[in-house]
Symmetry: C2
């Protein structure tokens, strides 16, 4: 294979869409989640995010990047209003509906109805979950950090509630995402299923790695 | 399947390792990258990160979460010192070596040699790349944001250089991560390959989704 090298000046001179596709791909596979919120006007909103990441387990924190100028533009407003939102795993069975939530629907339209996913409420939690999603996470807003380099935000919430199938939880707490057919994303628009290569033991200097 | 519900009080009362495994899994699949740095004492350092994320394409920004108290503890110091670092995709062919970089080697030991991955320098860039990695990204530090909720940091860099095989780039700039056998991670320690489900067209309200 012959390698291609892009330098900083190449990136700046690049066609905008080409650069968007390239830079969105190179950091690797991304999580696929639907963020459920409610607006001040009581409209349920649902938006796909590929930027949800683990921040820490103690306290249990999850982050996501929000682009105020981009498609899921109602989500951030709603999170700031209600301070509660939901994170719902996207699976191989419903990724087309999940993708469709990225369309620019008006603020008075609920994406749940527009794309055909079912709204579900769980006890003591004000934001809507996605019934079809096997991993439902209820989150309370903790921090919004501004990323000055491009005017985006890192939104951080603390996990208040998790619902998932008992059969998918290993004895040590790990969740079998593959068994639940959770999808991942590359670039802006490509969805992937996965196959397990190996679960590896905790690494120590000078020790041969064990497969669990 | 019968569902299990964890509430906030369950999460707080949970065994520490169980919670770590659970919370590390639920946000979905994660990217797999090796971060290459150099210390003030000129020792090359290599550390696996599952928290590398896309921040924006214009300017081209990539972020990652750094835990000062956790394993890849030399990486942040080195980034602050040299202001340049590399991001290298982990593949199905070398994920065990990549995982082994998480072992707590002393600061005077280079993980490149310890795990058996080759160091490579590219023109006009001071930090070391991983020769075996098909996607090599040279990054310059832009911002370090403190996440107050748990004392971790979001480290943001601007892409200065990208090297990757020409055959892996689609006409519109998207990179075929699957063709390059790039791996992804679930939880703390499980590596996965992927299979493409579909590439979907830009979503618009009221339009049927097209597969590209």
């Amino acid at each position: 294979m012959s390698n291609y090298q892009f330098n900083h000046s190449d990136l700046l001179a690049m066609d905008r869409l080409y650069r968007t596709n390239l830079i969105n791909s190179i950091s690797g596979f991304k999580s696929a989640n639907l963020i459920g919120t409610i607006s001040q006007e009581k409209v349920s909103n649902l938006a796909i995010f590929s930027s949800v990441i683990h921040i820490g387990a103690n306290p249990p924190l999850i982050g996501m990047i929000s682009r105020p100028d981009s498609v899921p533009r109602h989500t951030l407003e709603n999170i700031q209003y209600l301070k509660h939102y939901t994170i719902n795993a996207v699976t191989e069975n419903m990724f087309p509906q999940a993708h469709q939530t990225a369309a620019r629907y008006d603020a008075d339209i609920s994406e749940f109805e527009a794309v055909g996913l079912k709204k579900e409420f769980l006890p003591d939690f004000p934001a809507p979950f996605v019934r079809e999603s096997p991993i439902k996470i209820g989150v309370q807003l903790r921090e919004i950090l501004e990323i000055k380099s491009n005017g985006t935000y890192l939104v951080i919430g603390e996990v208040q509630k998790i619902e998932l199938p008992q059969e998918a939880i290993f004895e040590d707490g790990k969740v079998d995402l593959e068994f639940l057919k959770v999808a991942c994303i590359s670039g802006l628009d490509t969805y992937h299923g996965t196959h397990c290569l190996a679960r590896l033991a905790y690494a120590k200097p000078g020790k041969t790695l064990k497969i669990l």
